[in-house]
């Protein structure tokens, strides 16, 4: 699959997952799509490794200001009652679903295998030169950025499959 098409598929996956499962509409491409830049806001970052053709990993970071209301909507509770752990669990689900949706759309002759999503420091977000594809979208309360890096197997447990 060509890089522009992969980019387009990534954006479609992000939009579809946000709308269907999190009842959130992406407001548009975020001008701040440069990873590794100065980010004064608190963020949650999650990485999902995958094996398949191609293998790689998806890393998602979202500002906490956006993640908390998303978690509250997902869980059906007030923002004030969402713990940090619950917020991280929901962001893990968000990354897992975007990754699964993306890989299901990518032409591949093999079945893909997803590792369990892992919370990572936001500083581990891949730099531009390392990632195959980026997608940064503005949400009403912050920004969500996704980077996909392919080519290197990063899935620690080959026996795991998509959830």
């Amino acid at each position: 699959m060509s890089e522009p098409l992969f980019q387009q598929v990534l954006r479609s996956s992000v939009d579809e997952v946000l709308e269907k499962m999190f009842f959130v509409e992406a407001l548009g491409e975020s001008p701040d799509s440069s990873p590794g830049g100065e980010k004064p806001q608190a963020e949650v970052a999650v990485q999902v490794g995958f094996l398949g053709d191609p293998p790689g990993s998806l890393t998602l970071r979202v500002t906490s200001a956006a993640a908390r209301p998303i978690a509250a909507d997902f869980l059906g509770c007030d923002e004030d009652s969402v713990s940090d752990r619950q917020m991280e669990e929901v962001v893990c689900e968000l990354a897992n679903m975007i990754c699964g949706s993306l890989l299901s759309r990518v032409e591949s002759a093999t079945t893909f295998h997803l590792a369990a999503p892992q919370i990572v420091p936001p500083t581990e977000f891949p730099a531009t030169g390392r990632a195959t594809s980026f997608c940064a979208v503005d949400l009403s309360n912050g920004t969500l950025t996704v980077a996909v890096t392919t080519g290197t197997p990063t899935c620690p447990e080959p026996a795991q499959s998509a959830s």
């Binding site: 579809e16 997952v17 709308e19 269907k20 499962m21 978690a71 997902f74 869980l75 059906g76 619950q86 669990e89 929901v90 893990c92 689900e93 897992n96 679903m97 990754c99 699964g100 949706s101 890989l103 299901s104 591949s108 079945t111 893909f112 997803l114 369990a116 795991q160 499959s161 998509a162 959830s163």
Partner: protein, 128 residues
């Protein structure tokens, strides 16, 4: 008629979401049980009868594939319809889970009405 459902997923957030979506969709739930993997699900099923099972695939402990195998081997439990909820929408994965005994398959992301329709289809609930 209200139904008893078992949700099997290692993510507490996802279990809460699935339960909430079932309720929001208008599907009538009398009881909703939860388990974090296949082992825990089998324990629940030893104590409680349910009308349908909604299960994830990728779980630590006993995963969804092994759980479906165990259900199929059990003369009593094999009659309970199991629906897989997964991010994997590939034909190969769906066929694999159906061959293990899944009666339905819902890919994430999904709309509440999709989950309700799949539950009603597998339970044979007449459309209103």
């Amino acid at each position: 008629m209200a139904y008893r459902v078992l949700i099997v997923d290692d993510s507490p957030a996802m279990r809460t979401f699935v339960r909430r979506v079932i309720e929001l969709s208008g599907f009538e739930l009398s009881d909703c049980f939860e388990a974090s993997d296949g082992w825990q699900a089998l324990e629940v099923l030893r104590a409680e009868w349910v009308d349908a099972i909604l299960t994830d695939i990728n779980m630590p402990g006993m995963d969804g594939q092994e759980f479906l195998r165990r259900l199929a081997e059990d003369e009593l439990l094999r009659s309970i319809p199991a629906i897989v909820i997964s991010t994997d929408a590939t034909a190969h994965r769906i066929a694999s889970m159906v061959s293990l005994g899944a009666r339905g398959y819902v890919t994430k992301p999904f709309l509440p009405e999709t989950l309700r329709a799949e539950l009603e289809r597998t339970l044979g609930v007449p459309c209103v």
